[in-house]
Amino acid sequence: MSRRVLIHVGTPKTGTSHLQDVLFRNRERLRDQGVLYPADRFDAHFLAALDLMQLPWGGLENEAVGAWDALATRVRSHFDAHSEGTAIISHEILATASRGQVQRALATLGHPDTEIHVVLSIRDLVRQIPAEWQENVKHRRELPYARFLAQVRDPARDSAIGSWFWGVQEVPDILDRWAGDLPPERVHIVTVPRPGGPRDLLWQRFSRTFGLDDLALDVEAERPNPSLGVPETTMVRRVNIKANKIVPPSAYRPLVRELLAHQTLSRRVESPRLTLPPEDHVWVAPLQQKWTDLVRERGYAVIGDLDDLVGAPPPEQYADPDSPDEAQVADAAVDAITALLVENARLVHIERDLRGQLDGAHRDLERAYLRPTYRWREKTVRRLQHSRAGRFALRLYRAGRGRSSRSA
């Protein structure tokens, strides 16, 4: 076995959160079995990707400065300590790295002396396009579905939406940037199974790609990134329109994205699912076919079936999130309010507990102050603070004593 780095570069919405969760939770076991997943925190590779691409991300970039070099150093140190082995790096936003950034990434990982394998997991555009809009909504965006689609369709791609969408989803371009210098057998394409397939089929494909089949791992999902239905997504978008001005990102993430979207609204599985509008199938189908042909022609190692990339036909009844069934949106809103009430009740309980602890600490502090001269000194200080001369005298006293913050 040689020194191998498997670098999984995307695409978003292809089960990457589950994969990264399993790898992170099992990193000790993996290391014992000769596989390095270099991460001290769940989002370590996300931060490294932000650093590599110099990408601001709502303040998280502050924690990312130097993260890529730190990650690459760990990989190289691992290989210095072990003459052979495998290291895995995974984050889906790496898909958008430029050619220069890819060159830098591979060089810092030891390319060409180290055997680099690029892994790209892909899913049909019929599912990816609505999933990307939903992801945008869960990241505070306010734009309606129709406007999102128009920006994706715009060939100029000069909007933030269009530029980002194609950067992380255009499979041939991602492969040009990441796999241009690699032999095709070191480029692994994992296809996401069609809807309705066995639940663990995608994991089996990832497991085979990363050489994890024979390793003992806990593969239960703890950080799923579940999808929302049409009324639920619309409701979150309406919340964004109202709340973005007043709720800071640090509160939005736990309350809206985690509590409402992931933990509450994603459980409403009976509502209509978000799909591609029927008229967009006309341009998506041939584009998808072109991409599939290109992957097939280039002879990459495909794990799964390229036929998985043929999108489902348009639904008989299209549920438009820009003109939703208002009763369903109201139902989703009731669930959301209930979840927020439950969370509020939990926080009120915690607040009460903390208040009790604080009162106890105050009482202890007061007892400590009950020395005979304390009340007299306190009264004197208060009286002195009311006059200019008194304040000056106090300042002189404190300067002479040394520390102004010491209790009298």
Partner: protein, 364 residues
């Protein structure tokens, strides 16, 4: 990409050439694994038009990616082999100044990140110093605070007084955006101001009444003074003179600072970023000629309403107000409603060439 004409143009630009892509006809062998993007090539051409960059700067321009939240490096239109995927090719001369200014800001940020920081001047602490806190308009508060720190009077401490410094509301809005730009890189002026208007209230630091009320309502309140005439602030703090009243900076200078600030965010930690912007970039931009920003006409009514509200609140309340409360009302002054991106780009290119001069002077 092995297009000989594109590589020929790249070589021409590396040598200081200024011929636009549309008029180019020479060829050359490939000089790297991939062609730089249209933005990098056109920016280098503009730099060549302005001065003579060293090979180091030319290579840096060609190797630096545009910020990834915007369009990626774009392929050249008219090359022989065009992929049928990826971003659409462009003629570099069709690129907007905005695209080039963004890239120039990334280059400046990369240069700035390597600059050493001098320790700020801090005088020895006088035990008899007046304790103070400065709030309100950050462009008026910050120089005064620095002046006091240099004289051994850092802010804070037990007791003391709180000065909430303000001026006319239009200027305060420009000042706050300027301060944001030099702290962490703000969003564009038009978008930032529109957001304030949508929110329906002045940003908290500029709502002098609200700031004063908050200070008064603290459990251990300090003495609060609102100052509507910033010239009075030094005397209230026991200074005979002061640092002088700050003049608003040229719109393009602040626009460049906010772009460089944004590009610095993923490069250096926040504290160092703020100091690089305020201690290194700001002094260079401070005297840049040009008109400052003023409130665009479409928002003037809103600013007038907010100023009137603030004026009424300052007249009614019980904290001392130094200066006429009416001074918070907007003043007509010369300025531009938005930065001119072409001026920002020209300034950025001049700065890039200046940093080159420093490299030459500092070199072996």
């Amino acid at each position: 990409m092995t297009d000989p004409a594109a590589w020929g143009w790249t070589a021409h630009l590396r040598e200081g050439g200024t011929t636009p892509w549309g008029q180019w006809s020479g060829t050359a062998e490939p000089q790297g694994p991939f062609l730089p993007g249209a933005q990098q090539l056109e920016l280098l051409r503009r730099v060549n038009l302005t001065g003579r960059p060293t090979p180091v700067l030319a290579e840096a321009v060609l190797a630096t990616d545009p910020p990834r939240r915007t369009r990626p490096a774009l392929p050249l239109a008219g090359v022989l082999v065009v992929a049928d995927h990826g971003p659409r090719p462009v003629d570099p001369s069709d690129l907007g100044d905005n695209d080039l200014a963004r890239l120039a800001a990334v280059l400046l940020a990369q240069h700035l990140a390597t600059r050493p920081l001098a320790e700020p001047r801090v005088g020895w602490r006088r035990p008899w110093r007046i304790r103070y806190h400065l709030l309100g308009d950050p462009e008026h508060a910050a120089p005064l605070r620095r002046h006091l720190i240099a004289r051994g009077r850092p802010p804070g401490g037990y007791g003391g007084q709180v000065l909430v410094i303000g001026t006319d509301t239009g200027r305060m809005l420009v000042d706050l955006w300027t301060a944001h730009s030099f702290r962490h890189g703000a969003q564009p002026w038009a978008g930032w101001l529109a957001m304030c208007v949508r929110r329906g209230a002045l940003p908290t630091p500029l709502d002098l009444h609200l700031v004063a009320r908050r200070e008064i309502d603290r459990p251990a309140p300090n003495r609060v003074h609102v100052v509507t005439d910033p010239a009075l602030a030094p005397r209230l703090l026991g200074l005979r003179g002061g640092p002088g009243l700050p003049q608003p900076m040229a719109a393009s200078a602040v626009d460049l600072a906010r772009r460089v600030g944004a590009a610095l965010r993923p490069v250096v930690p926040p504290e160092r970023r703020t100091r690089l912007l305020s201690d290194v970039l700001r002094p260079r931009l401070a005297d840049e000629p040009g008109l400052p920003l003023v409130i665009p006409s479409r928002h003037r009514d809103w600013v007038q309403d907010e100023a009137d509200r603030l004026h009424r609140q300052l007249e009614r309340h019980r904290y001392p107000v130094h200066g006429d409360p009416a001074l918070v009302r907007p003043v007509d002054r010369a300025g531009v409603e938005a930065p001119d991106v072409s001026v920002t780009l020209a300034l950025a290119i001049r700065l890039l060439l200046e940093t080159e001069l420093q490299h030459r002077e500092e070199g072996p």
